[in-house]
Symmetry: D2
């Protein structure tokens, strides 16, 4: 272990110096305290937030969260623990057994204080009033610098959780944990009374609006949680084709159904004229909500996960689309930290029938981070990963 | 019983002949079949829908529901069973014990088919695909005419439910059943995991936007279901004062806080700077939703009940107000038919400490229905009842 | 259709004349009324209840339910509608679209009144106070006789529900609907707050005690609803082997672990020393509850489904196994009628990865019903079906 | 403040030296570290656990918990913060605002590690694998000695939570917080789908078995959470009379109904022949479970809270009382730490109509602790408090 550290006396990282500007920089190897850890990265998946930062949208979801350039992007992180402090070993674990150097882990995106109103009262959620996150709000100018995953190593601050990865899982499967955890948390919040069809229930029809990386992870979750018919809507034929291969039953291409009316009619056809039991918004486009509510059945559930960055106002009809429809709309940003470990168990138990790893379509080295970003925005990619292995 | 029928060989009813036009008419006493019933009315409370019909808004909440003039208004109905068919006696009951002539009952507003997708699959809810309702969509030109509560008698169609009223309750308390049932159903849909503060939980702070009749019934329900601090927002000082007397802890008058910013700041002050755990929209104004989402805490629940008739588009921010807030929005129109009987039990058990009857501020005779309507719209009224007793 | 009826002017049926005594008899083809239907049977699966009746235990689960000999057994029924009355066509459907002759359907085991307290108040459940069921409590001496599924035809009484079978499903898959529906209803009742691990949550470990037909259907449901590790306990190596092939991750054989202590220790090993998140009792042995509670983690959920017939008293420790363990125990007999249609959708969507049909290990003709019963009791069978196709 | 400390340079405490043996002892005033606190006691309520310790039952609820004599009893504690460390000020708070010297607080009974499996995964519950509690498992021989509430002062260890008391509440109201929190947590776990009557729903009938201190707190909670009819069963006429005055609708005295059959019949009479929607066991007698299940309606919920110490085996019928009844049994020991603050809010909002303080029937000084214990066991007491104010 010690030897490996010497080799990278300088840690390479991809740095977003400003919107639209990526550079590669070296940083010193940090010291680890009793309460912190150091992880040697295996991969960091690109998320919509990274694309938004690159294009200059710097206000993030939680109130007050703003990107602080220069940053090392990357908050969907997988690596191997290089060093871990004795207290961190106990308290960063989510399953009660201490974490040790050499273990492969996924790292929660959120850093929480543990004692504010939300940390104390709302189960597991990172709605912390002192919330920070990796890959965006902490500048890499601040020592120990390594606060993002597009790097050879990452520094793990107190208030972070890590979940060990079952040995059978490939790195490609494991790196999906963060977005699967978003879906797990959202489905968990949608559940209510399955027998009485309050909230999501097994056998429900599910429409996923936008079958990019977040969309496909929600489709995986729907599949693993007993959904009936899973329908994906997108404009990318590449993504729709891959979704059908992986777990989706029906696809609606914007090329075939260019109008809201056409898509709505198609969903009605596929759902016995009732509308979908659940709709999941994964497009990032706030204007899509009206269409989502239109394709929902009476009393259906609408999970809104993608519209994370303000791009346009949302106009809906409160009377027709919410009250008369008895709709249930659940916004979902972030995830309970416990969800990481749980989704890894679910992947372990379903990898025989679902080819999760195929959702990672492209991987790039640290020096190619800008190329990776561009590919992640292109319609002919699904999940793109930045990894020091390349 | 027979004698009483002869007295009203012609049944008086208040008829809305067209928007803005009320007349009193006489109708023949209907025959009762095996599957139907006849109720001698004690009172019928005026609802927002009645006001909307009067002002010419004829499209109702459920898809396709349109007012068919001339109609006898009135769907919040209390009366005594005059005659009931032998089959109706069994199947119109919600608690399993047959209904008999002479029993005081509240009558469900909805008439359902019992076998469509929604009747078969979604617990108790009147989202029936063949849905009809009293007081609006069935013209009084159609025999047996008496399809609304502003009359001496009402004809009860197959597919209606009736709940007997506990003997201790006054008519004024009992006539609130329909709107209390709306609140019961909505709170029931909001419940999820009380310990983890998913959905409504006892001790929660609750803001009621609009403390008219629907608002006060939701405040009653919040009080009976263990809410912490109940806050009412309105522009009517009359209603705010009455609400404070009845069950509300804090009031915010639009006269004192004329701006959204001011009201939002006041709610924050009253909720430790977090926002309210639950907000209930009872204003009927679709534009209010943005304010409702602003005053909600992260992960809070927003019950939208009042915006039943389209008056204006609703503009919100999907990213800031739904996703980043992890908001839960639940639209609630109608109520499970079982809720009528349950709320009557709750009133029975809480009437020692809550003065429900005071919410009925005005009562008018059938001939004075137009005056009743106007009073119900005025800011110096709460619940207004039309009754043949006057 | 008409022609086919003439062929079986006498309908063959397997009749249990008394405990331990099976005979084959002929019955006349019944007339169908407006409210009833006639189904040509494809198969009827043998359930624990059938075995109990055969061995002389005639008191069934619901209060007052007693077997009335002679009976045609069979309440897990699959067939094709031969004739259906016009009213029955609408009201026997669970998805809102009318049922027609020629459609393949599964038939709910329960006949409910629709208007008693339970029918009116508790969602979908057949806890009807006027409850009857096929295959046990209605003697075949009463015309029209055909009240059980081990026959060429079955008469469908008013108050029964039928769910059409998706065309891709084999008869072997479809005939599992009733027991999958038990599991669906039980899991639905166990769900509560998945994120906070109140009740069943995806990724949970699940121990199935007794991996016979009911056990395997619960394991299927766990698998389809995202369980983590599924562990089966049984004494039949045949059943354990089949369970591993179909969906179970780990098996504990009573041959290898003959003592409660040994099995408990093994479950602890497989669940990080915590005990299982959920345990499902499918043994039919009331004495097993103590072991089930011992292998549960703190706050875990215990579904008790199998102990349907009284065989022995149950002794547990209320303080150690319920209170101190914060256990949640949910008894589950019967299922919501809507569950039949939903599980068929789930089978349709998961048959690519789960070989449901292999759970039907043996099929026998009507004349061989006694042989079928004996095979169903033998340890080298899973689901045994009686079918007129043989 | 400093002055007051000098006065009690020796802190008086009631010590249980061994079962049946109470003495008064003096201890030094402890130093407070950054992570701990010192509370000047206002009162400590006597609980069933204290009575059990006194009578020699030393095995407590959670696995492995054993009373370590000599102990200062008292885990339902109310006091004023005398000193608090700077870190403790932040992390011992449950509502996110720091705690300061001079604030009146209730103190959680449990001391949790914060990072074991249960602390990390199961919301708020003190099922901590490293669990300790005040008043029983920590000997007062260990410095700083003051680990129980029957004393002038109490030492607050890291891992404890404290909730500030609203200023309007009397000490008698506030000292009920711990047992109300047990009820809050239990009701929270019982909630599920109120509209579909899965778990507890408002308007439900509730039978409380044993209307002692825990029973009355559960009855208060039922009343505050919208129960329909509340029925108490006990043998003490004193307690039944007080319960009727405070919040209970009907009482069943064991003097009038000495047999299980008689009591069951009486509950049936009071619940329309159906049985109670919810039953709450607060007797401490494990043998009572069979009666509790008998008086439950089909699909009802049984909260088992009182049978905390093993006194007798529990014998039930799994088939008749669990499976056929579709019963839901929820064991509840301890409470989420957040519940303390929430119940105090509920008391604040309901003290106008419920006379909580009257449940505290007797108060004794520290030197009279043994007398207090004996009174708490006597049938003519409800809640008994030990307080240095006397």
């Amino acid at each position: 272990m010690e030897g490996s550290l010497k080799v990278c006396a300088s840690v390479r990282a991809a740095v977003m110096a400003a919107p639209g500007k990526m550079v590669t920089r070296g940083f010193p190897v940090p010291e680890v305290t009793d309460d912190s850890a150091l992880v040697r990265m295996l991969g960091s998946a690109i998320c919509g937030t990274d694309k938004h930062m690159y294009s200059g949208q710097t206000k993030l979801g939680l109130p007050g969260a703003v990107v602080t350039f220069p940053v090392i992007p990357g908050h969907e992180n997988l690596g191997v623990i290089e060093r871990i402090g004795s207290n961190a070993s106990r308290v960063m674990s989510t399953d009660g057994s201490p974490l040790n150097a050499g273990e492969r882990v996924v790292i929660s995106a959120d850093i929480v204080c543990g004692h504010c109103y939300y940390c104390r009262n709302v189960y597991g959620y990172p709605w912390c009033l002192n919330h920070r996150s990796y890959g965006d709000v902490i500048s890499c100018e601040n020592p120990p610098h390594l606060f993002g995953g597009w790097a050879e190593m990452m520094y793990i601050l107190p208030g972070t959780f890590m979940s060990r990865v079952p040995s059978q899982l490939s790195d490609e499967e494991a790196v999906l944990a963060e977005q699967l955890a978003v879906a797990y948390g959202a489905f968990g919040r949608a559940y209510q009374g399955p027998n009485s069809k309050e909230g999501y229930a097994p056998a429900d029809s599910v429409v996923v609006q936008g079958i990019g990386p977040l969309g496909i992870c929600n489709a995986f979750m729907a599949k693993m949680m007993g959904a009936g018919k899973i329908i994906a809507v997108d404009k990318s034929e590449y993504r729709l084709k891959l979704a059908r291969e992986l777990c989706v039953n029906e696809t609606i291409s914007l090329n075939d159904y260019p109008t809201v009316e056409g898509r709505t009619a198609r969903v009605m056809e596929l759902t016995d004229g009732l509308g979908s039991d659940m709709v999941i918004e994964c497009t990032g486009d706030p204007a899509i909500l009206s269409e989502g509510l239109d394709i929902l059945r009476l009393g259906g559930t609408y999970l809104v996960e993608g519209a994370f960055v303000e791009e346009a106002p949302t106009q809906i009809s409160a009377s027709r689309q919410i009250v008369a429809k008895n709709a249930r709309i659940v916004g979902a940003a972030g995830m309970p930290y416990q969800a990481y470990g749980r989704v890894l168990k679910m992947v372990e138990n379903n990898r025989g029938s679902i080819q999760f790893a195929k959702a990672v379509t492209h991987q790039f080295g640290i020096e190619s981070a800008e190329e990776a970003l561009k590919k992640s925005i292109a319609p002919d990619s699904m999940k793109v990963v930045v990894t020091p292995k390349k």
